[in-house]
Amino acid sequence: MTPTIKVNQLSKTYQVPEREGGFGAAVRGFFNRKYKDVKAVQQVDFKIEQGEVVGFLGPNGAGKTTTLKMLSGLLHPTSGTADVLGFTPWELKTEYLRSMTLVMGQRNRLSWDIPAADSFLLNQAIYRIPDDEYKETYKELDELLELEPLMKKPVRNLSLGERMKCEIAVGLLHRPKVLFLDEPTIGLDITGQARIREFLQEYNKRTGATIILTSHYMADVTALCERIIIIHHGQLKYDGGINDLSKKIAPFKLIGVLMENADEHDLSKYGEVVENMEDADKKFIQVKADEVTRITSRLLADLPIRDITIADPPIEDVIEQAFNA
Amino acid sequence: MFLIFKRLWQVNWAEQWQYRANLLMYLLYWLVSPIIYLAVWTSIANANGDVKGFTANDFVTYYMVLLICDQVTSNIIIHTFAYKIQDGSLSGELIKPIHPMLTNALVNNVAFKVLTMIGLTPIWVILFFLFQPDFSGVTFINILIAIPPMLFAFLIGFLFSASITALAFWTTRIYSIHEFYFALILLFSGQFVPLTLMPKVIQDIAQYLPFQLMLYYPIQLILGKLSQAQIIQGYVMTGIWLSVSILLFNWVWREGVKRYSAVGA
């Protein structure tokens, strides 16, 4: 069987105008603009079979979104080829557009001023979905996402999580075979993230759709994807199972402690102290996952601890550590 | 106090300079209708010899001076301020120890004017060569006498527009109200045509309204068409309307802020 997605030596180089400050420079730039090449994606190769759920990982600016945009057809690559469902995405053939979807967590497809129901019907017309098929799909999506109570309210009155449910649903009305999801859970709270995750899992199981998603949240990826592709500095750094990844990158946990007179105690003997965390009250150390229990009990025994948390380190840090070293 | 205005000027000038491309578009937009009226009325005057004593040259000089007067006396406060009331970002300005409208917004408008004036100058010169108007009626003294009432007319217009803007404390429909206000200006200021060519009723009403102080009165003053009595009458009207606009704005603003803080936006 031919793979659903086949990417061969895909590269994208942006030309970014170099600007100097000042009026004189602006005038000179107008006549003789200098460009700087930014290699966003460099010779990426991979294949994805039908029904796979693949996570794209990498820090901001690594080239994930650029790759996703090329696969959905929004961007022309500088060189290389891609084949999705037998189409070259950037030719933007109608049949192709009707068999895939792109959902971007930070962008709105729904109109703010009207109830989602109306935007749904508009998309039905645009995607030429027959009435009976539309009803059936809607019923299915409603079952999974509990859309009905949200449909009558103007979109601007929905919470972020509710809106995201509608955004995803509207992108799925035409039963796409391939889903590109760019940060589908961004900004959602933990329960919201979990609901979207469960839905995607169930949707994949029911329809056999191929899903590629990027996410900042490690939990999204570990829950959903059996396979991971890591892109860093535009290059493909890792492509394989999520379990192998854990072996490759020694898994770490972050332990955060809140204690009396925090400055008096030196945590570096328990693990690597991590600076610059959002939670300024706590101190954080990074330890190997299999040592968490041992170190935690030592901390509790040694220090005047008021509160202790154990969490995954941010995904950027993990990848940074693994591939930058 | 002087330092505050100096700093405000630096900030607002830099801000308006950022938007200079938009500003040029605005200028072109604003230029078109006086030029069309100019073309229409000179064409009529040429066809009929004159229109109630107005020759083609009278019309050309009238609209050429109008371009300058309108530039001096008009304002854009509603476009730069109303949204702050609507989206609540005014709160940040209310807690500062200066009046948000009478300092920052006022200076912002003045910076806008200075920039558009710079843009207008070359256009005005081009129009001058295209229409070759005869400005022999204009004297230096007339221009000097016209400056104070023009500056006060700007203040009157600014305070009225600011009062309308402050209605945003109560209603979301201030742009519609402003559109209505704009129509009043068109009707009573002499923007469409010198007021003496308007129907008698409109002339009679216009006399007592502030709108003619913004255009018709200074234009005629500059062109040397007013008698001494008319000039003095204009000064008196300016004084009266300036007091009215100050009182009105103060009242609307005070009540509005009261309401704003009561709602707790």
Binding site: K69, L97, M104, Y127 | N22, V32, I36, S43, L186
Partner: protein
């Protein structure tokens, strides 16, 4: 017809939107009537001081006002709201969704916002045209009416095409997002016959921002002042400008996706 289905879907959505702002709609209609009154008053003032304007009488100018309002309705009902939506979609990136929808992107960009209540303006415009022609006492045959309709449509297409080019420029110059103002600015010139303007202004409104092509010229056709040659030329201009606009739009989209450059 899929296009019609799409159009009706857009209409439904936009009716929904205007229902959400009912009171504003009423206020806007009142303001619109106020401006109509002003326009008629200004014509009255002009014609109390002269018999003809650029060779045209009061009746003809009322008819011209009708034609002008046709164009103005297109501006306000379609061009402005969609410009706003377009600029917004470039800023926040939702343009990406428009491109990935399986329908003609120029169509989507043109019709996704419609100020529905403005349609009554079209009736008003037609009423003005009929009254104006009657007042002028011109006798008009069916052929003249037909050429008028064709040239009015062609004129609208010219203005529309110009708009497409103007917004497509945003693909090249991202900061160029208030370009449509220039269109609206010169639109006012369409209220009066282009023959009254000085030569340089006539050149601008006929060739550069061709407002006159959409207002003065169709009315001249209605009065039987245009020969067959001229009618054909102006029809050709309409078609040609649409073709050019489509090409510019396509090139702009390619630019947006990084296919060219």
């Amino acid at each position: 017809m899929h296009i019609l289905k799409l159009l009706s879907a857009f209409l439904k959505v936009n009716i929904q939107m205007s229902l959400a702002y009912r009171a504003d709609t009423v206020v806007n209609i009142l303001l619109n009537l106020m401006w109509l009154a002003w326009e008629l008053l200004s014509l009255n003032i002009i014609f109390s001081n002269t018999q003809t304007l650029g060779g045209w009488g009061l009746g003809e100018l009322i008819a011209l006002l009708g034609v002008f309002r046709l164009i103005n309705t297109m501006m306000i009902a379609f061009i402005w709201p969609n410009t706003e939506k377009f600029n917004q979609s470039i800023r926040d990136g939702s343009m990406d969704y428009t491109i990935l929808q399986p329908a003609n992107s120029m169509f989507l960009v043109t019709f996704s916002r419609i100020t529905v209540w403005r349609f009554w303006d079209l009736i008003l415009a037609v009423v003005l045209i009929v009254i104006g022609i009657n007042m002028s006492g011109d006798s008009i045959n069916a052929l003249q009416i037909l050429t008028f309709i064709l040239l009015a449509l062609s004129g609208m297409v010219v203005i529309y095409s110009l708009w497409i080019v103007l917004i497509a420029l945003t693909f090249w110059f991202t900061k160029f997002d208030n370009n449509v103002t220039i269109l609206q600015a010169l639109l006012d010139a369409g209220r009066y016959p282009a023959t009254v303007y000085p030569v340089w202004l006539r050149i601008i409104v006929t060739f550069i921002i061709p407002i006159a092509v959409a207002t003065t010229i169709p009315l001249q056709a209605l009065r039987g002042e245009l020969g067959l040659n001229q009618v054909l030329i102006f029809l050709f201009v309409g078609i040609a400008s649409f073709v050019i606009a489509t090409q510019v739009w396509k090139t702009g989209l390619k630019r947006y996706s990084g296919a060219s450059s």
